[in-house]
Symmetry: C2
Subunit: 148 residues, 2 copies
Amino acid sequence: MAHDRELTDRELRTACGEGRMSHQRLRIVRAADGMAGTFTVEELHLSAKRSVPGLGIATTYRAVTAMASSGTLAVVGERNGRTLYVWCANDEHHHHIICTGCGRVAGIHCPLPEDDALVAVKNAGFTVTRHDLTLYGLCDACRKGGEV
Amino acid sequence: MAHDRELTDRELRTACGEGRMSHQRLRIVRAADGMAGTFTVEELHLSAKRSVPGLGIATTYRAVTAMASSGTLAVVGERNGRTLYVWCANDEHHHHIICTGCGRVAGIHCPLPEDDALVAVKNAGFTVTRHDLTLYGLCDACRKGGEV
DNA sequence: GTAGGTGCAAAGGATTTGCTTAAAC
DNA sequence: GTTTAAGCAAATCCTTTGCACCTAC
């Protein structure tokens, strides 16, 4: 899981955004924190269901929407038509490197602000408001073992 | 359109990949080249239909798949659940800045290779094989006119 | 007490696929 | 002549939504 400790009330509150901290949503948030690497809504749902047996898939979708809005989850591409998410409860702006072998994820420092490319863009008449950067590759284990 | 000239046979060939250069596909490729900024498959289809009245939507989807595989089109996000594409028949590696006001697109030099961030990632045990970077912002016209 | 959340089931909608005919090579 | 693509329509399948009931606040 992303943390070796339990999530604090404050983190749970942030994850739920303005919404209510229902029993189900808290379980879903904890399940998301517990996911290893990237995951789909369906995978998260299966995991959360272990804590909340009757959990509906729509509830998981709604929780994911809330977590994505609050910045607790980030979208990092898609796999077979399903959107891939990562636990991302990091205060500061950063990006991710995804292992295409096992889905493992590491956060990386954003290389853009200092870069000349941005200046060039501004000179071309654009004002940059946002950017998406995701790196893909192989982690140490997968490189040695061969991509699965 | 992306070019002020007609597409060469070589460019058309590249766009179609290994596939056949059918009448329909060539028209779709030219229509894609003629799109202003980002576009959805549906929008491309409407445009291509002006050259090929009976064109089926499935044919456009298949052409888009071929162009995306050959690198002639790039995916640059989505709008209301529809994937957004850009004409991208550029030999060298680059990225895009998208105007969120009007969809206008400009190519930008890739800032990553020289960056320390990549080194840091490698030190963390990852081998980077690929990366996606897209910038979003406002072009000169939209900034002055106010975002639509 | 009430707005917002949940579960279920049905709807939505982009994209894909099966099949027959036609055209590229 | 073969093989691949087109066109049409049906199927897929992720995601959203309507609704009646429940619960966090």
